[in-house]
């Protein structure tokens, strides 16, 4: 990336902002066509935005979205499409919840319990994505296909295990089924915010740490360099002595391990058990967030916050008589238009830089000609 700084920043922001404005216009149009007032909708959303509870919930949602996005981005950086983050985190959350809730854990120190739970989740996530990596390097199976299928298998596996006869129990007073709840010492207390009944997930700091590590590994380490190289040009990577198979395995394992973290803030900060109603589908949201944030650690954070905010204000739309599905439309349009916008900007940037170089060199050339 060039250091033509002001322009680089403007260009970097142009695509996501443009996509945002474009999708707002589309949504306004749809609202008008369906006899709703766009102004009232914005009103309802901004009213919701002023409630601390909405903001806390947005941040919490964003935390899990961000972790999912980083998991996806690790693969994206080397053109690997880990569509299986969804299955990975659900299986990881379920099994680590079982471990965290197990009776023998009650006697262990709190720090150890939490660490063990998180590590277990990472291991399960990595193992599940590792299957896809193994299939790819040994049999050439596309990771897109295998991770999608592993998602389905994870769904069945979780529903098989989440059964009173096996790892779960009935929740008293409801027909929900859950793993054994995690007792006090195994939980991670949230941060209290005045004016809000929800607490901020303390594991938001875990997400920040993961984001920092992601940035550090990619830009500062040999491993990150080889990963990016593989993504930019596999043939150049091979010629440079990078073992592409090894990189596939490593990045899938890392991606899966991060995916394992996705369920942790919810599990340790709010649910305390894995039940039938544990949030699902976050892996796919992660793909959208990674796309919108261009796999950039800060970009994805902004995208995750936006997504979290949109999700949480959707509730208030029902009250205003606007169908909440408008948020889904908006998110869909943002993702579609941002992908197009990024490609346009990328092409423009390549050409602009070539011109820039041409201009810089063109000048010296004339000088040379003058002096010779």
């Amino acid at each position: 990336m060039g250091r033509f700084s002001t322009r680089a920043i403007v260009l970097g922001l142009a695509a996501p902002l443009g996509a945002l404005v474009f999708s707002a216009l589309i949504c306004a149009f749809i609202l008008m066509v369906t006899d709703h007032s766009p102004i009232e909708t914005v009103d309802a959303m901004s009213a919701a935005a002023q409630r601390p509870r909405t903001l806390v919930n947005s941040l919490n949602t964003a935390t899990t979205y961000y972790l999912a996005a980083v998991a996806v981005a690790v693969g994206f950086k080397m053109k690997l499409f880990n569509i299986g983050v969804d299955g990975q985190y659900r299986l990881a959350a379920m099994l680590s919840a079982t471990l965290a809730g197990a009776a023998f854990m009650d006697s262990l120190p709190s720090f150890l319990r939490i660490t063990m739970t998180i590590l277990a989740a990472m291991l399960v996530g990595a193992a599940w994505s590792g299957l896809a990596a193994l299939l790819k390097v040994t049999r050439g199976v596309s990771e897109v296909i295998s991770t999608i299928m592993l998602n389905a298998i994870a769904t069945y596996l979780v529903s098989y295990l989440l059964n009173p006869a096996r790892l779960a129990q009935n929740v008293p007073g409801s027909n929900n089924i859950s793993t054994r709840p995690i007792t006090e010492g195994g939980r991670v207390d949230g941060l209290v915010v005045t004016g809000s009944t929800s607490k901020i997930f303390a594991l938001v700091f875990l997400a920040v740490a993961v984001g920092f590590l992601y940035w550090f590994v990619l830009t500062r380490t040999r491993f990150g360099f080889e990963l990016k190289t593989t993504g930019l040009s596999e043939s150049a990577a091979v010629a440079s002595g990078v073992s592409v198979k090894k990189m596939v395995v490593y990045s899938m394992l890392i991606s899966g391990a991060v995916a394992g973290l996705v369920g942790m803030p919810q599990l340790l900060g709010a649910s305390y058990s894995y039940a039938l109603d544990f949030p699902a589908g976050i892996g796919f949201t992660g793909i959208a967030v990674a796309l919108l944030g261009r796999n950039h650690p800060v970009g994805m954070a902004v995208a995750a916050l936006l997504w979290g905010f949109l999700d949480n204000t959707a509730n208030s739309l029902d009250v205003a008589g606007v169908p909440r599905e408008i948020v889904l439309i908006m998110q869909g349009v943002i993702v579609l238009s941002v992908v197009v916008a990024y490609e346009l900007i990328r092409r423009y940037r390549v050409r602009a830089e070539q011109h820039e170089v041409g201009r810089a060199l063109g000048r010296t050339k004339t000088l040379e000609e003058v002096s010779s």
Binding site: G2, R220, T229, A236, A239, S240, G241, E353, V357, L361
Partner: protein, 514 residues
């Protein structure tokens, strides 16, 4: 056929360009270009890469519009807005890279895009007759019903020419037509060009191979830095003078002074055999030894196993049998990374696919292939400052023309990318350099610089495996020459005595000797 100008004195030039100027934002690609091409002649346009030849041809073929200046065809000013206009005016272009569909016949390729209709069906018979006619008239020796896949490179080129003639061109632009041909095929092509000329057609021949230009052209226009600097007749100039016109200064030759060959073997290949998935032998029992201070040149028509040889030596491909030894150690089963770390430098054949990351900065490209070593890494971490400083040094020492080391490699011209690659590979002080077409697509100035660096390293005991399609370069730079044909080494030659023609024969398997 509207303009049958036979070229008698006073007749209009077939094509004339006057005062053509073309600016791209910030760059002047052409400024005040003047060329007059007399009908019924072969007019050569020579110049270094980046001298503005391609832009000029794009203007003449209607792909780009000039900012200033006029194009005259047969004396009449004409504005082209698209290649279709140029074709209508009787100007046809034979591209350097063939644009043929392999799985179609010659006939189908020629009519593609302008299929002759008769009612609802296609009228192939008329087309077939016309193709035969053109082929016979100009001695192209093409059968319309041959499958393009079965044709050799020379024949494919003739199909391209035929395609253009079929569309009624009277002036043919040939862009670097000999780049893909071996010497014998070049002679055939020139024979064809003379026949075309004899039939009254006009040919604009773009090249930077000066011997060929002198052999075939009636007139020569030289371009330098976007403008035409001289128009000369071949009988008045030597290749050297022509080159100096192109470069604007005295010219280097690829030539090794005294021998620096030692008796210390550095890279040894023994009985290397590589087979493809379907069992064909891509490399067949290849053996050689390169000593410290020695350049071994491999001559061969592309696709005769050179790529496989290089990949096997670099550990990208595993041989079915045979061994590779580096400084006496068997490295046959080691990884590419290990080989690079043990002192093998690698200038890959395909710059864009293997040599650089186009969408990464120059300093990141400096790290590529050297990511485990100083000055790019400290332990498991990258040493960004070290890499950047060393990139700056390479940019200066190897004359990489760039405003900054923070631009992406895609912003640089091919020659400058290549200089960066050469600088990078030389900077790790390798014991062996595997150089595939190190000066391909590089202008004369950069070529000389690259040769200089190789020579200097050779004097410091570097062993080099040189693969090149440029026979002059091979002969000039090598201490020993081997010819590869269908994956096997078929002859050894002494570069001091061999001629390009002899090498050419050996490369095509015509005259096996040595």
């Amino acid at each position: 056929m509207a303009t049958q100008d036979t070229g008698e004195p006073g007749g209009h030039p077939a094509v004339e360009l006057t005062g053509i100027t073309k600016r791209f934002p910030g760059v002047i690609a052409n400024s005040d270009v003047n060329i007059a091409v007399r009908p019924g002649t072969v007019h050569a346009l020579v110049g270094e890469n980046g001298a503005g030849k391609s832009t000029l041809m794009k203007i003449l073929y209607g792909m780009q519009r000039p900012d200033e200046g006029t194009i005259f065809v047969a004396g009449k000013p004409i504005v082209f807005t698209s290649p279709a206009d140029a074709i209508k005016a009787g100007i046809g272009m034979v591209h350097q890279h063939f644009m043929l569909a392999d799985n179609l016949t010659v006939l189908e390729n020629v009519v593609l895009g302008g299929e002759p209709r008769s009612g609802l069906g296609l009228d192939f018979d008329t087309a077939r007759r016309r193709i035969r006619e053109i082929s016979d008239n100009y001695g192209l020796n093409i059968d319309p019903d041959d499958l393009v896949d079965d044709l050799g490179v020379g024949a494919r080129q003739r199909v391209e020419i035929l395609k253009v003639l079929y569309r009624g061109a009277r002036t043919l632009i040939l862009d670097e037509p000999t780049a893909v041909l071996v010497p014998q095929e070049v002679d055939e092509l020139f024979g064809n060009l003379r026949e075309l000329k004899a039939e009254g057609l006009t040919i604009l021949f773009i090249s930077h191979k000066l011997d060929e230009v002198l052999a075939v052209a009636d007139e020569i226009t030289v371009m330098r830095r976007g403008t035409t600097v001289a128009s000369v007749l071949p009988k008045d100039v030597t290749a050297r003078q022509l080159a100096e016109l192109m470069v604007g200064s005295a010219l280097p030759v690829p030539e090794l002074r005294e021998s620096t060959v030692t008796d210390r073997p550095v890279l040894e290949a023994r009985g290397l055999t590589v087979t493809s998935a379907d069992g064909r032998k891509l490399l067949d029992n290849v053996s050689f030894t390169i000593h410290a201070g020695e350049v071994l040149g491999i001559a061969g028509v592309e696709g005769n196993g050179q790529a496989e040889l290089v990949e096997t030596l670099m550990g990208i491909r595993q041989p079915a049998s045979g061994t590779v030894h580096l400084a006496g150690k068997d490295i046959t089963r080691t990884s590419t990374k290990h080989r690079r770390e043990s002192g093998m430098g690698y200038i890959p054949e395909d710059r864009h696919r293997q040599g650089v990351l186009l969408e990464a900065t120059l300093w990141e490209n400096r790290i590529l292939g050297h990511q485990t070593r100083k000055p790019n890494a400290r332990g498991l971490l990258l040493d960004r400052r070290g890499a950047r400083a060393d990139t700056q040094r390479i940019v200066e020492e190897y004359d990489v023309r760039t405003p900054s080391i923070d631009v992406n490699a895609s912003a640089l011209s091919g020659g400058n990318q290549q200089k960066l690659i050469v600088g990078r590979e030389m900077s790790s002080k390798p014991d062996v350099l595997i150089a595939s077409h190190p000066t391909r697509g590089v202008d004369v100035g950069a070529q000389a610089a690259i040769w200089d660096h190789v020579r200097r390293a050779r004097a410091e005991q570097l062993a080099v495996l040189l693969i090149s399609a440029d026979l002059d370069e091979l002969i000039g730079m090598s201490d020993t020459l081997a010819v590869i044909l269908r994956g096997a080494i078929v002859g050894h030659y002494d570069p001091a005595t061999v001629t390009p023609q002899e090498l050419g024969s050996a490369m095509t398997g015509a005259g096996r000797e040595g």
